[in-house]
C-alpha cells in the first residue's frame, strides 16, 4: 500500500531589519520547497528591497561568491560567516576576497556587526507565536499567499507597537 505524508515542510526566507528601533520589519520574503538551496534565494529577496543596502547579514548557507558580488554591486557590504574549508580565492569575485580577508584579519570587527543577525531569529519566533507555526493551505500557490499575509500581519503588529512606543498611536 502506498503511503504518503500529508504534512510537508516549507522553507521561509526573510529579509528583515536587524538593527535599530524598527528591527524585525520584514522587507521581503520567499517560500520555497524544503530541500531547495538557500544561497540562490538571496538575490531574489534583495531584488525586492528597493532601499539602498547597508550591511547584509546572513548565515553560512547564504555565503557564495555570487551573492557577495551581488551585495557589493548593490552598494552593500556582505557579512556571511565561513563555511568549512573556504578559501580567499577570488575566482573573478573580488568582493568575496575582501570579505574573507576581513573575517580572517579582523574577526572581532566582523562579529561586532554579525552579532545582530541573531535578531532575525526573534522575528521568526514572533511569527510562529503570533501567526502560528504552520500554514493551513494545501496548494503551493495558496501557501505562498498565506505566508505573504502573515508577513504583512507581522509588520502591522510591529507598526502598532512602534507607534504606541512613540506615542503617535
Amino acid at each position: 500500500m502506498r503511503t504518503f505524508s500529508v504534512r510537508q515542510f516549507r522553507k521561509l526566507h526573510v529579509a528583515a531589519e536587524c538593527r535599530g528601533e524598527d528591527r524585525g520589519i520584514i522587507y521581503a520574503w520567499a517560500l520555497t520547497p524544503p530541500h531547495a538551496a538557500d544561497s540562490p534565494m538571496l538575490p531574489t529577496l534583495l531584488d525586492r528591497v528597493e532601499a539602498p543596502l547597508g550591511a547584509v547579514l546572513g548565515d553560512a548557507a547564504y555565503s557564495s561568491r555570487r551573492n557577495v558580488t551581488y551585495v557589493a554591486e548593490r552598494g552593500g557590504e556582505a557579512y556571511f560567516p565561513p563555511k568549512f574549508r573556504w578559501t580567499a580565492r577570488a575566482n573573478g569575485h573580488p568582493a568575496w576576497r575582501r570579505m574573507v580577508l576581513r573575517y580572517r584579519h579582523h574577526p572581532q570587527v566582523f562579529h561586532e556587526t554579525y552579532r545582530f543577525r541573531a535578531n532575525v531569529e526573534g522575528a521568526f519566533s514572533a511569527i510562529k507565536r503570533h501567526q502560528g507555526p504552520f500554514l493551513q493551505a494545501r496548494s503551493a500557490v495558496m501557501q505562498r499567499r498565506e505566508a505573504g499575509w502573515r508577513m504583512v500581519a507581522r509588520n502591522l503588529d510591529l507598526l502598532g507597537r512602534s507607534r504606541a512606543r512613540k506615542g503617535t498611536l
Binding site: Q136, M142, W149, M151, A153, L156, G160, A164, L169
Partner: protein, 164 residues
C-alpha cells in the same frame, strides 16, 4: 522597573487591549491607496454562476475582505475562528464596513483573489508607514475608557506611579 521599560510596558498594554481595533485601523490606513486586486468583481446578491461566466463574483467589496483577512492572519485565527468572531462582533464588522459576517468559504475564496504581487505592494505600504506620522488613537481610547468607567481613576493612579 526603569522608566523606559515602564513606558514600553504601558504602550504594549495599550496595544494588547485594543489589538483588534488597532489592526483594523492600520489596515484601513494602508489599504486606502492600494489598487483593487486583479479579477475582483463585486456583486452583492450572488446566485449560481452562469454557464459562461469566468469565476464567481465576490459578494463583498475588496477593502472589507482585505481587512478581515489581515485581521485573521494578525490574530493567528483559522477560517472558522475568523468566521465565528466576525459573526459575534458587530462593532468590529461595522468598523470594517462589512454588512454581514462572511463565511469561512467566502474568506478562503477572497484570499485566493489577492495575488502575491498585491501582497508585496501592501507590505511596501506598511513598511513606508513606519516612517510617517499617523493620526492618534490614544485620545479615542481615552474617551472610550472614560465613557465606560465614568471618571474612574485607574489612569490617575498609574500616572502617579510613573511620576515617582
Amino acid at each position: 522597573m526603569p522608566e523606559d521599560r515602564r513606558a514600553a510596558y504601558r504602550a504594549y498594554e495599550l496595544v494588547r487591549r485594543h489589538e483588534l481595533e488597532i489592526v483594523v485601523r492600520l489596515l484601513e490606513e494602508t489599504l486606502s491607496d492600494m489598487p483593487k486586486p486583479r479579477g475582483w468583481s463585486h456583486q452583492p446578491q450572488v446566485g449560481r454562476p452562469g454557464p459562461h461566466r469566468r469565476g464567481r463574483p465576490e459578494r463583498f467589496r475588496w477593502e472589507p475582505m482585505a481587512k478581515a483577512l489581515g485581521l485573521m492572519h494578525a490574530m493567528g485565527w483559522d477560517y472558522r475562528q475568523a468566521e465565528g468572531t466576525l459573526w459575534v462582533a458587530s462593532d468590529l464588522r461595522r468598523q470594517m464596513g462589512l454588512e454581514e459576517a462572511p463565511s469561512r468559504m467566502t474568506l478562503w475564496r477572497a484570499e485566493r483573489r489577492f495575488s502575491e504581487e498585491w501582497l508585496r505592494e501592501l507590505n511596501e505600504k506598511v513598511v513606508a508607514a513606519f516612517k510617517k506620522n499617523a493620526p492618534t488613537l490614544a485620545e479615542e481610547f481615552e474617551r472610550l475608557a472614560r465613557t465606560r468607567r465614568g471618571s474612574g481613576s485607574t489612569r490617575a493612579g498609574s500616572g502617579g506611579r510613573s511620576a515617582t
